[in-house]
Amino acid sequence: MPVGQLLIEGLAMGACYGLFGLAVVIIYKTSEVINFAAGEMAMFSTYIVFHMLTVYNCPFWLAFLMALVFAAILGVLVQYIFLRPAKNPTLLGLIVITLGVEMLLMGLASWKWGAEGQAFYLPVSYKVTYEPISGFIVSEWAMAVFITAAVIMAFLYFFFKHTKLGTAMRATQQNKHAAKIMGIQTDMIFAFAWAFSSVIGVIAAMLLSAKAILDPQFMMEPFLRAFAAAVLGGLMSVPGVLIGGAIMGLLENFFGYAWPAWKPITAFVVIVLVLCVRPSGLFAKHYIKKV
């Protein structure tokens, strides 16, 4: 068994899942809504980068920055147009709205760019590989994933712990009405959370599509895994989500190598077992039930 290689590939995919899981967690941390449109929002923004690269021949970094701006606007728009107008929404109602947004974005992408797959390029290629130690082949793509995940995790950890905005987001999640009384503009916080989540989502989606292909459905499967990673790590914990992603990636790779036929379900079985023991995930500090 090529342990070193399985470790690297597992951690790289796990970092992608974890990174994308963060996009889910950020919205959950502020509003307790699971955003099922997260994958398609990321997909749509990735198509914007693709469009700018292929149609307008923009330099990558310009396209990248503009896609981040677009993703932020898309996040705010989704929250403003679809979620905010809901009258006395229940959590389930909001989740169903996100499912509708998912379908809408997928349909729009199919209409605009077609359902045929496309190759998506990053300046860091999966084709360029290094072998620093025998048996450990690392591609530029994998290195980019590790660095990006580490930077974003550090930033988010700092943001939620040590900034006023981060504290306001956590306060809004804990008690929306109390936060409002304390002067926090909760509507602004929700909009910001959606924008923030959308930006992180598109970064993860770009990394994933460079390894696979870009089509309107390409984020459906990674979303499920990222969501599972987030649940495993604890939906409230930023480092927990990344560790959950890493566990997910490693489990899939090692079990997938030993028993390929069982690969798709192995990680989910382990997650179910873990959640039986710790229902709020591995790294959530405590389980809060709102009344």
Binding site: Q5, Q118, A119, F255, G256, K263
Partner: protein, 447 residues
Amino acid sequence: MVQELNFKKRGEDANVYIGNKLVSPRITGICKFNKRQISSINKKGGEKAMDLRRIRVVMIVSLFALFMFAYDGQAKQETGFDDKEIRVGQWGPQTGPAAAWGNVARGSKLVFDIVNDEGGIAGRKIKYFIRDDQYNPSQAVAGVRELVEKQGIFAFVGGVSTASCSAVQGYLLEKEIIWISPCTGAATFYKPFNPYLWNMWPSYENDASVIAKFAIEKKKFKKIAMFYQNDGYGLDSLDSVKYRLSKKNMELVAAIPVEPIESDLSSQIQKLKASGAEAVIAFVGPKQAAIAVKTSVSLDFKTQWMFSYNLSDYEMMNKITDGLWAKEGVITSAFTQEPFAKNELTAKYTAAVKKYAPTERWSIFYMAGVVVAEPLVQVLKKVGKNLSTKAVADELNKIKNFQGVGPKVTWTATNHMGPKSVQIWQCGPKGEIITLQKWTENEISRD
């Protein structure tokens, strides 16, 4: 004057009339009639009784005839055409996850557009219906039922996805509607024999066997692995490759399954790499084929990838693999002619695309739609005015060595199988098709 008649007593218990009015025979006991009434009864009673007996007989015969007629009505009624049009249908994923294959249904339209532009067949135009099933079997069933029961369809052509085709197969057989041909090589469409379904696509079993033969005999590969989709498509092929290898006393060095939803294939590719496979025969979908080749490059796994005919659209595959299809010299089988082969028929179609469907790309999947429509048009032309399901079925059963832009087919009244031959192509450095082997039949076919 009133006279009493005791019917029961006199035995006149039936068919008693007063004037033209029937007095029920069930009337028993004593009735009172005047003379005029008695006279009327005596005069008309006998002949009216005879008439009623006749009516009874006629009614019984009529009911029997009605029953016979109704029974006959449950058998095939000719629908789907009139003096002006012949209605033909197809379903396919125009939207949804497999919309890239939606051009199969649109490819068939090209053939019908050409026919209609030439004046139709025996005075009838072909009216063609496409229903979007979104690659969803339940949607396919709904679309097909709607077409059959509301529009009235004479024949279906094509149909993408083994699952969708399987879902409608029973219904079309029950309705005895002609179907040429599911766009799949799955065995379920020719085993057991279906008298109303004619296959144009080579079976996956034959396809895999010819690829394996090429790998062993022409390429002299000693270590061959298999990477297969974990469903009928992949499992039929796996079985066939194993059978082919067993004839040479060889075994697969690895057989790795993959689920159609998976997008991270690194562990599977590492397992293939560890097996030391010189060639990997792969029966997977386009997306996973692209990811597999990309992953093998990033893991420095050097092997000869060999895919099924479903991946012989080099232009599309090069696009989604960032040119790796050409760079890695991927080999595939093929069940059509080269898209830009220099012959009259190809020239006719490529010109027609420009005229009728300028936004479409003349590609393998688009051609697949043409392939399934060609035999129907051929046969409709032969049948001419005297159109019926039986007439068309009989002509289809006589097709011998028919070839349009697809493979050569021969059907009989007891054999509707697709061709057993495929070609072997390789993607050249510029994405061009290099024909490595012309039409080759699976000589050890178990079909």
